[in-house]
Structures are given as structure tokens and as C-alpha cells.
Subunit: 471 residues, 2 copies
């Protein structure tokens, strides 16, 4: 036995091709995989092992870091370092998963929590098709695909996005107006660099998606909260509060998080204001595809005759979040400005990811997937609503809403949504508190629960019962 | 024949499942692939076709955009729209390449120009191994790999980078100090958000990598140019010019573009200054691995006892640029600040790319690849130098240098490097002019030519003869 819990490690081989840290790593891994070291076993501290082996402390730290990152060991402060409790036995050595290239050890519990916000139905994603396209694209890689990619995005992908937006969201734009980004934050940053400056004021929805306010604040831009009613942002109120605002960030399809749609008069009022003041409207269309009561509404951008709307779309919700691919549509007159800013700041997205998505769209999988998900989400939404209402109906009221990926559960009796959410997290349930999405933390108390990964009414009832015990 | 050069297109099918733009696209593609339309043939303008078909202009534009993005057609201004000249006949329908998911048409000429800067030897990249790992990773994707990835980077990748930096660059750091980014620009932007503010002054190398100055200027940070001599940045001069500078950006391994190494006394002077003034040193180690006369120098970061150095590394040069993966090592005391900023601004990199790189490193391909490239580049550098000198020796002098990926050819007789570079680009040769890397465009005249893709002395001679004709 080369590794003991309390010492007696045999000397390393200075002549080996493998560096010391790797030899140490290999020994621990071997000992754990072979069962010599068992979950919960305490191992030598890095300090002690350093002394034992007479090596640099950094060498040991590196080996331990690798082991920890891959889930083999855990540092427990005063209690020392132990082999990760509950570590599963090696299953197979040929199927590495993303989180670790050590296939033998699964260390991450299923990381999707019930009701987790912002996730599409990951169990229903066509992974086989995706893997086929991915394997094909990675095999087809030629030297000319390995040079610096366009910082605006892969031309073929930009063209596919333009075509998709026309058919699906009523947006008429050319591929040159489309800038591929790595996500909403990157999109917002690009807009900030191109069109806004420190000290500007920008209207935001209240309640609204918290990262929008955070991003603006970090760019030294003042976010002016504007209330939401049944028609979406109360535009007149916002214009009164900040008539010289430089921009407004809105979620017209399904307001985030209240899911109401911005009414046509409000859309027109915003467009008129923007045209009159040369201000910008940033349309965050994060899940416009998911409307269940009627056809998806055309985007606000489709009404933009004066070139004032910047449209932010994303593949996070219609494909999956770890793809890190989103896009921005800019008015024709702003293309040059955004090209200039992209040349300075944009790094470009990996060509492989862009190639896979291009093939996925072009071959029709994308349109089919969205259609399937729209149907599935309508069912899961109904099942989740019914299941939760049957158990929790006396304590909360579920908002009716035309689309989106989450439910809004209004708490009765002035219960604190934050307290409930904190308790839910302790129990392995995910929920968000509406008051955390509201300026100053005030306003109505409600739970935001994603329903896209709840597979049946039965599951919803079971989850509802777990919530009931926490009320 | 459904598409004529001058009209007579048959009506589209409104009952078809395919939207109109796709029907138009399909017809043109079919006509081109079948040879009905030939390279150089003129096709109807979008305006004329709109009228002909009685459809919305946007529908035709979308179809034409797709065709243009995929290289089938080209708009030629007044001359109208034509089928791309030189379009090759369909070769195979099962090997799509990245730039297009239409496998039948190759529209992009080999996009690597001789001497193109910043590119590794793409012909020698182990593409088969890469494709195998890529296919394996994409097949192994589980729902838990599809959620939002860590904005700091995949834990297993951060651990591998930390281990690699210790062995290869002498840097002792924990995985938590490593932040995965999408490239140098993204890295610099993160540093800007975390540690700098508008109005700050930052020392930069002169001549130096132009994007560094551009980025700083766009962040409203004043770049203070500091001269380079045989020992790298003349630190004393910089400190005299801007004693209260908040940071210095340096390329210590091989100064970009002059390839000299920053001497130890200069490194110490920088470190002392930074410690005394609580300033930051940003070490851009873009190609530190590629040194041919001796072992690679340890990074400046390896001498950083006071936690003042931010180390920027990248996979663009040691793997390939279109991977869009780089990283930043921050001092331990700054980890929290960078985590905070990453939470706001970082979008995260695609999990797939990170998983492939992790496997590539862990299985030893990375270390082997760098070793092979170091040997290959030493050979190619020698061959390129010999080949160019034999032809151009009377007109220019090649700087001796210990490492890097490009040669510096000093032009004699006050010839303009810019004029020469412009002529070279017209002739399909890539070169950069040293004066474009110098503040105010002054300084010595020299060509910067990448040698990593020049495969032999014979090739270098041929390329040299083409340059000779342009002198």
C-alpha cells in the first residue's frame, strides 16, 4: 500500500516521465478507485505530505487541487482532508462526462434542482442528433476553420439566425445586423460599449431580471425602475420619471418575471419616445418562442421603423445554457458602430459550437425542437399548475399567464417569499423570491418556480407536499 | 428550368411546409449544383425577383443572404448579383466543413495566407486526436452538463491549467486563481472591470501589440508608451514618465513584436515598483512556450511574491485561434474581486470546448503537441530565415531572436514597411508593418512575418522571390 491515511507513502520516482504532482495524483486516484482508500477516509494534510516527501509545497497542492476539482477528495478545514463521502464506485472508463475527464468517478450529484429557473427541459433535448452533428463538425475541421473566427459570428450562422427571426419573430434584418455573442451579459456589454456611457439613465422593469440592473450599475449607468401592470411596463410613468433616459430595457413577450405581454399601445409609446429622443429600446426576448395560448407574438423589433430597437436573443432557452451562444440584432444604421466595437472587445465564439448550431438549424432540427418544446411546456405547465394547486391551493394562488417557463405563486397571509425560498434551498428545492427581483426588495410576495423540468402532475404533487411542510 | 438569369421563375408553393425564403434558396442552390446556373452567371436582382414573385422584399433578401453567406452568389454592386466565380463543383455531400453546413460547395479559398501573424502551424495540429476526443465529449453530454456552466471556468479545466502552469511556466497557483476567458480581449476587459477605472494611466510597450492600446483607450484609460531596448521595456523610463501609473502591460517572454526577453533586473524593477505603489503588472504570455535557444523562461508571475502580477495565457497559439479559450491567473488576494466581477460580466465558455481541452491536456496530448511544435518551429524558423535571406539578403536584415512565432525583417534604405505590406496583401501575402505597432507610426521600418506555416526553405525562397518583386 503506497498511500496511508496517516503516512508511510513510498518515495516518488524522480526519473519517471511523469512530474511529481502527477505521480502523487495517480497514486491517490488509484488507491481510491481500487478501494484502498474509502469514502470518508482521512488522508494526510498537504503540509504533512510535503514534509513526508521532501517536495515543494506547491507540488502537493497541485496534486490535491486536481483531486479536489475532480471530486476525489474534500478539504474539511479543521477536520482535515478526506476522501469524498458518497463517492460512487467506478462505473465505466470509456464514457467521460463533461464535468470531469476522469470517467471513473461521478462526483456531481444530478445538478438540476426541481423548479430551477432558466432551464429548458433538458431531459427532452435531442441529444443523439446533437451528438451526431457535433461529431461530424469536429471531424470536418480543416486548418482554415482553425484561424481567428469572425468576431461578428460565423457568416452561415448569422444568415440562419436572420432567416429564423424573420419567420419566427417577424423581424426583417440582414445577416450583417446580427452579432453573435456568448450570452445576454455579453450582449448588454456590447450595447454599453457602443451606445451608452457612464452617467446615462436607463429605464428598467420593476420587478425585473436582476442581472440587468447589476450590469448597468457596474457600467456606472443609473437604472430607473418602472412599475409593471397587466400591460407590461407602465411606460408613461417611466418617461415622467426620466424623460431624458438614454434607453429602456424591456421583455415584451413575457415580462421577466411576471410573464405579462407588453401591450401594443405601450409598444407604440416606447417606439415613439425612442424616435423622438433618439433613445434606444433594448428588447430582451429570452423566451419569446414559448407562448401557449396563441401564436407567439411578433417581437417589438418587428415594429421598429426608425431603427431604435436592439434585439437580444439567446440559444440558452431554446437549446441549453451551457452552449454559451446568443445574439444581438442592431439597427442597420448602427452596424458600423457595432462592428467597430466588436473589433475592439469581442473575442468571437468557438467555431465548433457555431458550426453545430448552424447545422442544427439548417437541417430543420431547431424548428422541430421548438415546436415539440412548445407542446411539451404547455402540458408540463398545466400539470405543474394542477399538481401544486391541489396541494397548496389554500396557501397560494397561481397567476394565469400566456407563456414563459416558470409559474408565479402568490403567497397568502403576507408570508415571506425569501424565508420560504431559503428553506426550500436547504431541502434541495429551487425557487426564487419575487421580492428579490423588486427594487428595494418590496412589493408582493411570490415564488417563481420553473416548470419545464417537472415531468408530470404526480411529480408536481410530490414536490408540492415538500413545499407544504416548509410553509 | 425554374430559375432563369433574366426572369421566368415559376410560382412558389404556398402550401409547402418550407417557408418561401427556403423554397427560393433551394431552387437557386439546386440550379447551381446541377449546373443550370454557372459560375459568373448573372441572376435576377432581389428587387426584380421580389416583383416577379409578388412576395415581401425581406423574403427574397433572406434567401439571397443565405446564398451569399454560403458562397453561392455574390453581390457586385452596379454589376448585379452573380453566381460566385470559381465555385467548385460539388465534391461530396457528407463532409461539411465549419464555414458552411452545405457540404457540396467550397466557397472559402484556403484562408491562411503565407506569413499570416498569430497562427500556429495549423497543418501539424493533431486533428484526428482532437476529433476523437471531441466526438467522445459531445456524445457523453448529460443533462447536468447542459445547465449554466461556472462563469469562472470548468473546475477540471482550471485544475489542469494550474498544474500545467506549475510545470511549464513555474507559476504556483491554485485552480481558484484561474479564470477561463474567451481570449486576450476578454481577459483584459475583466481586469479593467476589476482593477482599473476611467482616467487611470497604464504603461504599455512601444512598439507593442496594437489591440492592447485600443482596448485601454476604449476603456478611457491612458496608455503611456514606453520604449523597448535589448532587455525589453525600459522600465525606468516608464516610471519616470508616469510614476503613478496604475498598471503596466508587458510581454516578458518574447516582447510583442520585437521578441526580446525582459531581463531579470527589469523584471525586478517592475515588481518592486508594483509592490511599492500597489500597482498591477499584466503579463501577456501569449507564446512563452516557444523558445528555441534554451528552455522556456519561467514566467514573470513566478517571481511575484507580493501578489501584483496578473498572468494572461491563451490556447490560441498552443492549440488554435478559433477555439476561443484563454485564461487569467489572478493573485490570491484578488480572487474574490474577480469572482464578483465574473458573476456580473462573464458569460462563461461553452462546456464542450472546455471538456475537450481538459481531456486533451489530461491525456498528455497537450504536452506532446507543445514539444513537437517547439521542435518544428525551430526548424521552420531556421528554414524560413535561410530561405528569405538567400533571396532578400541585400535588402533587409533579419533580427536574431530567441523565440516567438514570427521573424522581424529590418528594411534597409529607409523603405516604407507600410507600402510594402500593402503591396504584399494585394499579392496574397500577409505581412505586418512594424511602424503600425509603434506609437505615432514612427520608428524603424520592418516586416513582421509569421514563419510557423512555412513548411520548407524552398517555400521560403519562393515566397522571398515574390516579395523581391514588390520591393
Amino acid at each position: 500500500m503506497t498511500i496511508a491515511k496517516t503516512g508511510n507513502i513510498s518515495p516518488l520516482d524522480p526519473a519517471a516521465a511523469e512530474p511529481f504532482y502527477r505521480q502523487i495524483y495517480d497514486r491517490f486516484r488509484g488507491a481510491i478507485n481500487s478501494g484502498l482508500l474509502k469514502p470518508g477516509d482521512r488522508i494526510l494534510s498537504a503540509r504533512a505530505l510535503t514534509k513526508e516527501l521532501g517536495l515543494a509545497r506547491g507540488t502537493i497542492d497541485t496534486a490535491y487541487s486536481l483531486l479536489a476539482a475532480e471530486g476525489y477528495i474534500q478539504a474539511r478545514g479543521q477536520a482535515g482532508t478526506i476522501v469524498t463521502p458518497g463517492l460512487r464506485a467506478p462505473v465505466a472508463s470509456t464514457a467521460p462526462s463533461f464535468q470531469s475527464s476522469v470517467p471513473a468517478v461521478s462526483f456531481r450529484p444530478d445538478s438540476i434542482l426541481p423548479f430551477q429557473m432558466g432551464l429548458p427541459a433538458l431531459d427532452e433535448f435531442p441529444r443523439k442528433i446533437w451528438a451526431r452533428l457535433g461529431a461530424r463538425c469536429v471531424r470536418a475541421m480543416q486548418p482554415s476553420d482553425m484561424t481567428h473566427p469572425s468576431v461578428y459570428g460565423l457568416p452561415a450562422l448569422r444568415a440562419e439566425i436572420a432567416a429564423y427571426l424573420q419567420v419566427s419573430r417577424g423581424i426583417n434584418c440582414s445577416p450583417s445586423q446580427i452579432f453573435v455573442t456568448s450570452g445576454y451579459r455579453h450582449t448588454m456589454e456590447l450595447i454599453g460599449h457602443a451606445l451608452l456611457k457612464a452617467g446615462d439613465r436607463v429605464l428598467v422593469e420593476d420587478p425585473g431580471y436582476p442581472p440587468t440592473r447589476e450590469l448597468l450599475e457596474h457600467m456606472q449607468i443609473a437604472a430607473v425602475p418602472v412599475a409593471i401592470d397587466g400591460e407590461g411596463m407602465v411606460v408613461a410613468e417611466g418617461l415622467k420619471a426620466a424623460p431624458r433616459a438614454r434607453a429602456a430595457v424591456v421583455t415584451p413577450a413575457h415580462q421577466s418575471p411576471l410573464c405579462v405581454s407588453l401591450s401594443l399601445p405601450r409598444r407604440q409609446a416606447l417606439l415613439e419616445w425612442a424616435a423622438r429622443n433618439k433613445a434606444w429600446i433594448i428588447e430582451d426576448d429570452y423566451d419569446g418562442e414559448y407562448r401557449y395560448v396563441s401564436r407567439p407574438l411578433p417581437a417589438l423589433k418587428s415594429l421598429d421603423r426608425e431603427g431604435r430597437v436592439l434585439y437580444a436573443g439567446t440559444f440558452s432557452k431554446v437549446l441549453f445554457p451551457s452552449i454559451r451562444l446568443a445574439y444581438l440584432v442592431v439597427p442597420e444604421a448602427q452596424v458600423e458602430r457595432f462592428e467597430e466595437v466588436s473589433q475592439v472587445f469581442a473575442a468571437g465564439s468557438p467555431e465548433l459550437t457555431q458550426a453545430i448550431v448552424t447545422a442544427f438549424i439548417k437541417e430543420g432540427h431547431f424548428a422541430r425542437h421548438i415546436q415539440r418544446m412548445r407542446k411539451l411546456y404547455a402540458e408540463r405547465r398545466e400539470a405543474t399548475t394542477a399538481g401544486l394547486e391541489s396541494v397548496l391551493g389554500n396557501y397560494l394562488r397561481i397567476d394565469p399567464q400566456p407563456g414563459g417557463m416558470h409559474l408565479i405563486l402568490r403567497l397568502q397571509d403576507k408570508r415571506s417569499d425569501r424565508r420560504l425560498v431559503a428553506r426550500m434551498r436547504e431541502e434541495g428545492l429551487y425557487g426564487e423570491a419575487l421580492t428579490n427581483w423588486t427594487t428595494g426588495g418590496g412589493g408582493a410576495s411570490a415564488l417563481l418556480l420553473n416548470f419545464t423540468n417537472v415531468d408530470s402532475r404526480r411529480t408536481a404533487e410530490l414536490l408540492g407536499k415538500r413545499i407544504l411542510q416548509l410553509l
